[in-house]
Amino acid sequence: MSPSRGPTRPPATPLDPTEVAAATLACLPGITTARLRDLVARWRGPIGALDAITRGRVSADWQRAVQSPRVAELLARRHPHVYVKGRAGYPIVDDLPGTPEVLLAEGDRVDAFERPRVAIVGTRAATPHGLADAREIGGVLGDAGITVVSGLAIGIDGAAHEGAIDAGGPVVGVVATGLDIVYPRRHRTLFDRVRAHGLLVSELGYGVQPRREAFPIRNRIIASLADVVVVVEATARGGARITAERAVEYNRPVLAMPGSRRNPAAEGTNALIADGAEPLLEPSDVLLALGLTPGSRGHDTRLAPEGNAALVLRSCGGESATIDQLVSRSGLAPDEVAVAVRELERGGWLERAQGLCWPR
């Protein structure tokens, strides 16, 4: 079995010669974005570039590579969609520096590119709070039929994809490897779900393994594909910060979710807000940023807690706390706190995870 399952059915229309040539160029061994752009510019398009390589005018290695049937076999087996810069259907319309010449995509929902797109990115070391937020924002967008773009990483990325797919929305997962590689391995199932409910996208050819440097380069694609970029949790220096910087460069609105200064996973987002990013206070703020009107969703239907429960919720101080801390701050007996915590949990005011109480 190949490392990951390919699309289950061939696309409705077979690839035209330009698309085949572009895909073949993208799959050349060791090719870079810049090199590909130069080739296409010099030989006036993918077909010309491929022709030049076949005639041995560029490199002997590549000549051998394009003469082997490997790429043709891959294209026949995996049926990728091929998006070539400057042609109809290419998802990035504005002229941005570093836009990939070719994007390869696999998946069952080509309409994912035809809708408004919102990128949700964040740290891999997310807190339960952050994961819940990413899931919820993904769900709100999925409900509204808006495409969620992310990077399929552990943490915020994965939670955003999951939330959107669960809500029935289209998703786009941009990976930093070949489309036949699953990285991280733990997201095997998520990769398959993204293929079934959207598109898996890469500028890299088949068989390209994960490399450290490839991820920041991939992040610029996420930023350029999105109409709005949402950062849920980010550490001071991390991939999510890079995505946000690219988004600013590309004139995409950036929304960041504020967090406690005690939370290292909120350092990056708080810094973004200080630098001028829009704070995201409600999941529906994303819809406003897209110029849409949020529906009736989002109204708080929870009953306000009373008595001991209210006291215990206040004792949380908006941050996660152990039962010991709640007992100490509220002055109640342990058993009274236990009853109050369960009441808050039933009422949707509190979540328990990792032995801590998290107010919501």
């Binding site: 891999r124 070391a125 807190t127 339960p128 709070h129 552990i154 943490g155 406690s260 005690r262 939370n263 290292p264 941050e319 996660s320 706390a321 152990t322 039962i323 010991d324 801390q325 007992v327 100490s328 701050r329 007996a333 342990p334 058993d335 009274e336 706190v337 236990a338 009853v339 915590v341 369960r342 949990e345 039933r346 328990r352 995870a353 990792q354 032995g355 801590l356």
Partner: protein
Amino acid sequence: MLAAVHSATLIGVDGQPVTVEVHVSQGLPSYSVVGLPDTAVRESRERVRAALLSSGLTWPQQRITVNLAPGGVRKTGSGLELAVALGLLAAADELPAGALDGVGVLGELGLDGSVRAVPGTLALVDALARSGVESVVVPTANGAEAALVRAVHVRVARTLGELRANLKGEGEWPDWAPAPLPDHDPNDDEPLDLADVRGLRFARRALEVAAAGAHHLLFVGPPGTGKTMLARRLPTILPPLTPSDALDVTRIHSAAGHATNGRLVTARPFRAPHHTASTPALVGGGSGRPRPGEVTLAHRGTLFLDELGEFAPTALDALRQPLEERVVRISRHPTSLTFPAAFQLVACSNPCPCGLGEPNCRCTAASRARYLRRMSAPFLDRFDVRVRVTAPEPNDEPGESSDSVRERVAAAVDRQHARYADWSWSANAHVPAGVVERLLPLSPEARDAWRSLIEARVLTGRGAARVRRVARTLADLDGVTAIAPAHIESAALLRSDVP
């Protein structure tokens, strides 16, 4: 020219009566031991010979055969040497007829004829008493321990020569002093008390519940928050050992070779193996003679595992069977052994490799996952009480003293003893799942609270039974007959999803 002497050998932590038969006959001088002796028993020849000669006795220049019956049991250690020597004397008619009838003999010999102490005296004498001997002769140092078995008359031997004279009716039997009471118990060089712990009222409550209902307990928290401090104070709130449990514990520790100085062990064992402990060190076994592991040494007491995440995963998973069955079964050809292991497990762990835990954790998801993999879900499931601990708040006051907590615990334990008088267990934690519904009934309100936990998927099926046992302990601590909804809610919080 045949003599038989009663003695005993250790199998695991139990005694096994052994009959030492000595046959002396005409033939080329030789000495052979038959009947599954181990190397230490085989080596006895040189010691027995030297001891006899040093005591001014003769070594028969004849064909000597020593048979250790029953033949199918492996005999271990040097405790049979005195019996072999007396058998030789009896076979050579150096002892009056009938001097060894109904007498059990234990002891190792020195080359100078002195009689040396043997490990496991309590278990050995107990086995001899059950097999019907009326009196035992043991080394002087073991006299007090042997006397813990009330059914037999205990006499002691200092040297082989003196013992021979005593058996012939010459001279006074030596006295054995009752065990000296040490003025200072080495175990409590630092008097511990719960009053030393500030704040942490919920964690203290967890400790109290664990003590009262014999529930296994897990504390998870960053370093320096007091989880180890709390756990180490568990023995200070446990009720004392019952007399029969004390005898069991003494027998085990004596058989494991720990000096008991002939005193009954009355303090509950508290075993704290280091996290490098191997699987056999924890559960028992090992090559050759299977030895009791930490779980057996913690029988009727506490097994404390600090830094749970640092233990070998295989060693932890090996604990699952003794945790459930409260015995360890060790199978080694040709025998299989059962060691008692009714211990209470108390463990501490950091929430993740960096130790800080949410919300300050700086671990990557991968390193955290790797750390948590060491503690398998089925193993963590064995803990009825799991609590996340953080550092005390600045204005927290010192808590209750151990004495007042112990009173509540003792009352709850008494209540459980009365409830389970007709059953084979005596603690809430040990109520089998099959009778939880019958023995731990819930009022309609409490049942609603319990149901809502299951419906909210806070609990799995097994978790639900465990919560009920803990709720019962909470009710016992409150001194009430019926489990209240508050007990169910508290029990659910005492079993959080840490780490």
